[in-house]
């Protein structure tokens, strides 16, 4: 069981007329999601809300019943739980896509999704689009997401397109989003969790204004709640052209494996004796 302390905050920014961002903090099941909607006058907000609600409802159900049906996208490298998270994003994608086909006002709407799921002793993250997920560990910050923007995938841009768009423009062109196409590719990361790890999820309204190092320093210097506020205020001070959303999840204690039970130690003695005579290493 992982003990966490989480806080989230969303702000409309200074320029936009509506907040198309949406976030979810569901501490009992350990699910945290940021969705940054886009497209249309109201579509973006609707898309991000559908994504949040769908993922929340889906993740609340146990994964067993779906593990058998997920064969089409099953990937051996990922655990059942990670598959479950992926499925929830597939489902959100289907719902938003269906809605955008049905409702004219919502045509072309979509959303980015960045989700964090804490389970057992693992951090599982999934993302579609460009909403960052950062891991802060040992006073250093690293990314746990794959940005699906043309800037990041610049090596894939053909020669004929080079130089046509500036870097800042490329950073805003998504190559993937939830709800635009009938199918969606999800980038998953699964990694063990340690005490004092901090995960920050945000929308690009924040990460576009504040560097990774600044986020790291602000989060380490404040508790989760005031870190969210201060980050949002800082992004607003620097223009606030986009909606700003941030979630800070602080792992206070991750119980490491059951340590050194006597029984296990005694049961291990035959194996130890065998190892003195037998094969040394398996690699």
């Amino acid at each position: 069981m992982i003990m966490v302390q989480a806080a989230g905050f969303s702000d409309i920014g200074k320029v936009r007329k509506a907040n198309e961002d949406c976030f979810l903090i569901n501490e009992p099941i350990g699910l945290y999601v940021v969705a940054d909607g886009m497209g249309g006058h109201r579509g973006g907000g609707i898309a991000s809300r559908i994504a949040i609600e769908t993922i929340d409802a889906y993740m609340a159900t146990p994964p067993e019943e779906f593990s058998a049906t997920s064969g089409a996208h099953a990937d051996d490298a990922q655990s059942v739980t990670a598959q479950h998270l992926r499925q929830s994003i597939f489902l959100a994608n289907q719902r938003i896509y269906a809605k955008s086909l049905k409702d004219k006002a919502c045509r072309g709407m979509g959303t980015t999704v960045s989700a964090l799921y804490l389970t057992g002793n693992s951090i599982i993250t999934a993302n579609v689009g460009d909403s960052p997920i950062y891991l802060l560990r040992n006073r250093e910050i690293e990314t746990l997401y794959t940005p699906h923007t043309l800037l990041h995938e610049r090596k894939k841009i053909p020669k004929s397109m080079e130089g046509r768009y500036s870097e800042s423009r490329l950073a805003h062109i998504l190559t993937r989003a939830v709800g635009i196409r009938p199918d969606v590719g999800v980038a998953l990361v699964e990694t063990p969790c340690f005490s004092d790890d901090i995960v920050v999820l945000c929308s690009d309204g924040l990460s576009g204004k504040i560097s990774r190092e600044e986020i790291r320093d602000l989060v380490y210097q404040n508790d989760s709640n005031s870190a969210c506020r201060k980050l949002t205020d800082l992004a607003n001070q620097r223009g606030g052209e986009d909606n700003i959303t941030v979630i800070v999840v602080r792992v206070t204690s991750a119980n490491e494996r059951p340590v050194n039970r006597l029984f296990g130690r005694i049961a291990g003695i035959p194996a130890w004796i065998a190892s003195l005579f037998g094969a040394k290493n398996r690699s």
């Binding site: 709407m109 979509g110 690293e142 053909p158 046509r164 998504l174 990361v189 690009d204």
Partner: protein, 248 residues
């Protein structure tokens, strides 16, 4: 110029010019135009034929199905840049005869925003146009993942690639790296673990009296491994190496 590239594992192994061909049959039987000798491919798998000035892909009741751009199809019109998957092979349909997509005119599509979105708005790029751009530019250059490994300096031979999300080091054979020697009973099961995030590897102590050391420093919490770090745990000495470019 209408072409069909046959690819296997990112390599183009065959190329067909379809300009003067009316039918192209695909299957495992040797009488087909394109013979793919693989058990995932049916005897008669699929056929591509011309109708007017279009090419049509038709699945001829194959067992494992024909995929067009990742979706199963019975019959479909082909357009430039389409990817057909048959077994483990990929066929790329290229039709450069017609006008290319012009990126400046709707090649990059904003998703449903009326009028021009401001520079700070997020746009979505139509994946179909994107894919077509990719086929035009040739092979998709994947950014290589930095492979990392640990090499045994003592207590073992060779090296172990750190491909799994978690490598365990301990006294029993359930672990990926086994600590041998007389005092190995002091080590936990597992004693330490090397875990992976997208850009880095961390080592952490798990249990037991033998604690891992990195460059002589005893590990308590997770420690990020740097290239050429020396890990010592019991009699096992490992050197960590990340071959790829240093992550930013």
């Amino acid at each position: 110029m209408i072409r069909m590239l046959v690819k296997y594992k990112d390599r183009t192994i065959k190329e067909f010019a379809l300009d003067r061909i009316d039918t192209l049959s695909i299957g495992r039987n040797p009488n087909h135009h394109l013979v793919i000798d693989n058990y995932a491919v049916s005897g008669n798998h699929a056929v591509i034929f011309r109708e007017g000035n279009r090419f049509i892909l038709k699945d001829t009741h194959s067992k494992n199905g024909t995929f067009l751009n990742g979706l199963t199809v019975q019959q479909a019109n082909l357009k430039n840049g389409d990817l057909i998957t048959i077994g483990k092979h990929t066929l790329v349909f290229l039709d450069h005869g017609r006008s290319r997509p012009r990126p400046e005119q709707g090649g990059l599509k904003t998703s449903g925003l009326p009028g021009d979105p401001g520079p700070d708005h997020t746009m979505f790029m139509d994946t179909e146009v994107y894919r077509r751009m990719l086929t035009e530019s040739g092979d998709i250059p994947e950014i290589p993942k930095a492979p990392a490994y640990v090499a045994f300096l003592a207590g073992g031979n060779g090296r172990l690639d750190l491909a799994k999300s978690m490598i365990t080091i301990g006294r029993s054979h359930r672990c990926d790296i086994v600590i041998g020697g007389f005092f190995s009973f002091l080590a936990g099961d597992p004693a330490a673990a090397i875990s992976k995030t997208p850009q880095h590897h961390y080592i952490s102590g798990v249990s037991g009296w033998i604690k891992p050391k990195v460059n002589g420093q005893t590990v308590h919490g997770p420690v990020r491994l740097k290239d050429m770090d020396i890990i010592k745990i019991g009699v096992v000495v490992l050197q960590y190496a990340s071959e790829g470019p240093a992550a930013p």
